[in-house]
Amino acid sequence: MDQQSAATLSEASLDEIKHLVSNRAIEGDTVLLNMGPQHPSTHGVLRLLLELDGETVINVIPDVGYLHTGIEKNMEAKTYTKAAVMTDRIDYLNTVGNNLVYCLAVEKLADLDVPPRAQAIRVILTELQRIASHLVWLGTHALDLGAMSVFLYCFREREFILDILEMCSGQRMMGTYIRPGGLWRDVPVEFEAAVRNFLKIFPARIDEYDALLTKNAIFLVRTQKIGVLSPEDALSWGVTGPPLRGSGVAHDLRKSQPYSGYEQYDFIVPTRTEGDTYARYMVRMEEMRQSVRIVQQAIDKLPYGPVRSNNRKYVSPPRAELATSMEAVIHHFKLWTEGFTPPKGSVYAAVESPRGELGVYLESDGSPKPYRVHWRTPSFVNMQILPLISKGVLVADLVALIGTIDIVLGDVDR
């Protein structure tokens, strides 16, 4: 099957896209170049078909699907708790955010309460994950534009955050720490000291990256006025996240439809009006500083209390209770063999991921397995503006544009 697909790969693609390229390409005036799935600057397996006139890009046709994993169909075959494991792998740079949005959807469907300590810790981990994701973005974006030392600095900072996540959940990236009803277990004693230590050193590191890039002449020439996105286009193409805020529309789901206790924390939503690559860079740098501010407030106000809901129909009882209460044993047994069964209905829950609006549409038919899970991923929607903003740029600028939209192919293909 692989051999025959290899034969049809090239023929099918040209016939299918004849209506998308201009007449000059069919006559042979312009070059059709394949920026293939394996490329150092495409941040994953993205295939772009470029129509080039010399070095200038006339048209870009993205071809996605090289990382399609069938997660939505696979989640329909597993119970709600087992499906939570697969959610980490969708946007693998924002694993805590994926867990959070899935748990918010399940909690909304089941009308489950979450104790305040769990909400505060969720906020801390989500904001730390946002910083980690922006660090990877900054490292790879700068690497594409030629600044290699920024890449090494960013990954060094990221190790601190991965240590904190490993301390909580046991795994550096795919923790599945956030579960429906709260968290998996309470944070260990070293957590607070580690977070405070990180908050002490990190603002100085952001200043270091600023000093390296923000007023750098080469960086300015390569990013200013490249890839301008107007606010009307952004809204019409459904763009959310830093590309939308870099074009002037101050829309952030943490402020407009707060979840998990975000209304208690005081932070601003950075917005710029130019809409070019430099504006998006400044928005994300400022977002990192605001995340530090949120984590500082959250860890100062961290309340005491339980970390999982008391609702025994959805959350299993603590193990100590199993020795004394028969009901606890029955609940434990039902949850472990069959899984919990939320009521019939459909909900939509959305969070603000580092890339934009990450949403889950969850439909249940009263059985222990989800009937339909649809992931509204920000990269899938944001990718569509690439042909629009790359008209007339050079190939080297195209690399910067792919980086500035900040796509993660796991998000696009699911």
């Binding site: 469907l109 459904g238 909900v347 899938f380 293909d413």
Partner: protein, 170 residues
């Protein structure tokens, strides 16, 4: 319900005979396929629902009528609202009018609907498969499409599975 949302819902209810349902604080309207483009245009132009958040489908096989429900979600940033629309569809290869002229990002959403469910979007400029390979047959997210899993290997069947598996030669 918020007053802006109430006015939008009332307008759609009287113009297109939509049925309203509310669950967990979210409002959903059920519409017929013929009037979805006009409804979306009304929401976009008059009630300032600027953003299409998502467009997806649910398969209710083996129930045949309706077989699919296409679900839309629109957001209003000016009034901070969110509204869901559902369109029931029958048949093996149903057709729905495309809303690409109203919300441009429906382009890839409708390609994914075609790829995963086999729902054609009429009036779409470029309907071809987006996530699966070009020559794939079938529409994976339908309920009658198998999951396609491989048998889990334990010690008693490990050898049979390894003999059957197409390992690559040099």
């Amino acid at each position: 319900m918020d007053e802006h949302l109430q006015s939008a819902v009332d307008a759609l209810k009287e113009r297109f005979a939509a049925q309203v349902s509310e669950f967990r604080g979210e409002v959903s309207l059920i519409l017929v396929p013929e009037c979805i483009v006009d409804a979306c245009r009304a929401l976009h132009d008059e009630f300032s629902f600027e953003l299409l958040s998502e467009e997806t489908a649910v398969d209710y096989w083996p129930q045949e009528t309706p077989r699919f429900h296409v679900v839309y979600r629109v957001r209003s940033l000016r009034d901070n609202l969110i509204l869901g629309l559902r369109v029931p569809l029958n048949g093996i290869t149903p057709v729905i009018p495309s809303i690409v002229e109203v919300y441009k990002n429906a382009n890839w959403f409708e390609r994914e609907l075609w790829d995963m469910f086999g729902i054609r979007a009429e009036g779409h400029p470029d309907l071809r498969r987006i996530l699966m390979p070009y020559d794939w047959e079938g529409h994976p997210l339908r309920k009658d499409y198998p999951l396609g899993y491989e048998e889990v290997a334990f010690s008693f069947n490990q050898k049979e599975i390894d003999d059957r598996k197409p390992f690559a030669k040099e």
